[in-house]
Amino acid sequence: MKREPPRSLADYAPLAFPAVMLVVFFVVPFSTMIAVSFFRRQQGGFYTPDFVVDNYARFLTTFFGGVLGFSLMLAIMVALVCVAIAFPFTFLLAQTKRRVQIVWLVVMLSVLSLSEVIIGFAWSTLFSRTAGITNLFVWLGLMSEPQALVPGFGAVLTGMVYQALPYTVLVLYPAIVRLDPTLTEAARTLGASPLLAFFNVIVPTLRNTIVATLIMVFVFALGSYLLPQILGRPQHWTLSVLITDQAIYQSNMPFAAAMAVFLVLISLSLVALTLFVGRRETA
C-alpha cells in the first residue's frame, strides 16, 4: 500500500486531536510556568508580573548545582539498576509458559496500585532498627545486633527502583516477547553459549528498546520527591523536594518555576543527547 502525502486540509484533520491535547496539557501549563519564572518575587507577599532574571540567578550557585547533580545521578542510577534487573527478568519470563507469564505480569501490575506514600512507609519499616529485616539477620546469626538501614542512599535507591521496576518490565515486555526465537537458535547452532548469545545477539538486537526504556525510567525517577524525603537524609533530597518547599511552604512561585524550568530543560537536553549519540552510532 502506497501512502499518499497529505494534500488538502482535511487530510491533516486526524492530527487535530493530538495537537489540541498537546497544547492544552503541555504548551499552556509549561508556558505559564516559564512566564511565572520571570515574575518578581515579593518577599512576605506573592509575586507581581515583571521580567526579571533574579530567580535564575539565585539558582546558579554551587549549592543548587550540587542538588541538581545529585538528582540527575540518582535518576540515572535508578534507570540503570532497573534495566539491569528488568531486562534479564523479562527475557527469562518470555521463555516461560503463557500462564506463568500472566501470573507474573499481574503481580507486577498490582505493585502499580500502591501509592508512593505506602511504598515509602513500607520500606522505612522494613529498613528500621526496631522492626526491620536486620532483626531477621540477627535471628539467623548473620548480624550481632539490629541496625537501621534508613535513612540513607541505599534505602532511597531501593525504594525508587522498587517503584519504577514494574514500568520497566511493562515497557520491555512487548519487544522481548516479539523477538525472533530463531536468532538465539542460530547463535547456539554456531557454538555460542547461552550467556554469550544473550549478550552478543539479544542485547544488541534490542538496543533501541533498551535506550528508550532507560530514558523513560530516567524521566520517571527525576520527578520523584516523596521517596527521597521519607527514605533519605537531607543530602539525598532531590531538586523536586526543594521545588516543593519553595512553591508550597515559601510561596515563592517564581523561584519554584525557575527551578522547574531548569530541571525540564536539563532532562530534555539529556534525552536529546542520548538519542543523538544513539543515531550516530547506528549510522
Binding site: Q43, G44, S128, R129, T130, A131
Partner: protein, 362 residues
C-alpha cells in the same frame, strides 16, 4: 443487620436513607434561616470537625447568630483568596483563623478590619502575645487557637525526662533526633537563641542570626529525621526508632494516654508556642457579629471548653480559667513560652530559608 439486609427494600431506598442521614449529620454547618449569621473560616480537618461538633452549636444557642463554617486550607492559599476577593469587595469568610505570619502579611495590605477592644469583655484577660496589632496599635487580630511544640522522648529509651532543649545538642544523642524540616515551622532558631544566646532578641541582627545558625549546625549529627510529615515522626517516636525530638504537646499527651511509651516535656527554657488569630476581612459587613463571636470565644468558660475538647492552649491568663492542674498541664505550662519571631519570617524569609536549606542539606 441480617434482617435489614433480608428485608425487601430496594437498593435505591437504602441509598436514599443513607443520604438523608448524612444530610442530617451535616446540618450544623448549613446556614439556617435566621436573621443574623456569620461565615467563619477554620483550618479544614481536625479543627473544623472539633469546632463544628463542640463550639459553633453552643455559640448559636447562646447568641442566636448562625455560623456557616468554611474549611480553609492551611498555608498561605487562604490569605491569597481573601486578599483577591477583598479587592472585588467579596468576603469568602467574614472571620478567619489565620497564622501569625499570614496575619502580618495581611496587615501590610490593611486587609483586616481593626477590632474594637471595648466590645470584647475579656480583652484585658488575654495573654499579650495573643493580641496582634498594627504598628499604630489598632488591633488586627485576637488569638483563636494556640498549641505548644515541646521536647518529646520515648520513655523506654529515656527513663529520665530531659530538662532542657540543650539535650538536642548532647553528643550522646547522636543520630537519635527527629526535627521539623523547615525554618518557618520548626522555630529552632528561636530555641537556639533562648537556650544559648539569652533570648530571641539575639536574632534582631543578621550577626545574631548567623551565630544561631552556627550553633544550630552542631545539632546536625544528632538528627536522624528532618520531617515534614507528622505521621512519619510520631510513628518512629512511638516505636523508639527515633527516640527524641520536637513534636506537638497535645498529640504526644494523647499518644501517652493511649499507652504508647512517649512523653512530652516542657524544657526549662519553655515550649514553643505557635498560634492562629481571628481576623476580620475588610470586605465583610458583619463587624457587629464578628465582635460578638470573638467576645464569645474569649470567655474563660469557652477557652476551658476548647482546652478540654479541642486540645488547644488557652489564650487567657490562667487565673481566669477553671481548668484543673491536670487539665491545664495537658495543653499548656506556666513556664514562659518561646514565642516565634514571626516578623523575621516576613522581612527576611528568603534569606533565612536559603541559609536553613544550606545548613541541613549541605
Amino acid at each position: 443487620m441480617k434482617s435489614l439486609l433480608h428485608r425487601n427494600i430496594g437498593r435505591r431506598a437504602v441509598l436514599g436513607t443513607g443520604l438523608a442521614g448524612a444530610a442530617a449529620l451535616a446540618m450544623p454547618t448549613v446556614l439556617r434561616a435566621q436573621d443574623r449569621s456569620i461565615k467563619v473560616g477554620v483550618y479544614g480537618g481536625y479543627f473544623k470537625d472539633s469546632f463544628d461538633a463542640n463550639i459553633f452549636p453552643e455559640f448559636t444557642k447562646a447568641t442566636g447568630i448562625a455560623v456557616e463554617s468554611i474549611a480553609e486550607p492551611t498555608g498561605e492559599a487562604w490569605l491569597v483568596q481573601l486578599s483577591q476577593a477583598a479587592r472585588a469587595g467579596q468576603a469568602p469568610a467574614d472571620l478567619s483563623m489565620m497564622s501569625q505570619t499570614s496575619t502580618l502579611k495581611g496587615q501590610e495590605q490593611e486587609l483586616w478590619t481593626p477590632l474594637d477592644p471595648s466590645k470584647i469583655k475579656n480583652f484585658d484577660g488575654l495573654l499579650t502575645n495573643f493580641v496582634s496589632t498594627y504598628p499604630d496599635d489598632r488591633v488586627a487580630g485576637v488569638g483563636a487557637v494556640a498549641w505548644y511544640i515541646t521536647l518529646v522522648t520515648n520513655t523506654d529509651a529515656y527513663p529520665e525526662a530531659p530538662t532542657s532543649w540543650a539535650a538536642l545538642w548532647d553528643p550522646a544523642n547522636k543520630d537519635k533526633l527527629g526535627l521539623l524540616a523547615l525554618v518557618s515551622n520548626s522555630f529552632l532558631l528561636e530555641v537556639t537563641a533562648r537556650t544559648f544566646m539569652g533570648g530571641t532578641d539575639a536574632l534582631d541582627t543578621e550577626e545574631g542570626q548567623l551565630k544561631a545558625f552556627e550553633k544550630l549546625a552542631e545539632v546536625k549529627p544528632n538528627v536522624r529525621l528532618w520531617y515534614r510529615d507528622e505521621a512519619q515522626f510520631e510513628q518512629a517516636l512511638k516505636s523508639g526508632e527515633i527516640p527524641m525530638g520536637q513534636y506537638y504537646h497535645d498529640v504526644t499527651g494523647l499518644a501517652a494516654a493511649d499507652g504508647h511509651p512517649v512523653r512530652s516535656t516542657f524544657p526549662e527554657e519553655g515550649g514553643i508556642l505557635d498560634s492562629g488569630n481571628w481576623v476580620l476581612s475588610k470586605a465583610s459587613d458583619k463587624v457587629e457579629e464578628a465582635h460578638v463571636f470573638i467576645d464569645y470565644m474569649s470567655q474563660p468558660e469557652i477557652q476551658s471548653l476548647m482546652s478540654r475538647k479541642v486540645g488547644t492552649a488557652p489564650t487567657l491568663k490562667r487565673d481566669l480559667l477553671d481548668l484543673t492542674d491536670e487539665e491545664f498541664a495537658a495543653v499548656s505550662s506556666d513556664i514562659d513560652p518561646i514565642i516565634p519571631r514571626y516578623d523575621l519570617y516576613i522581612s527576611k524569609s528568603d534569606w533565612l530559608n536559603q541559609k536553613w536549606t544550606e545548613l541541613i542539606v549541605g
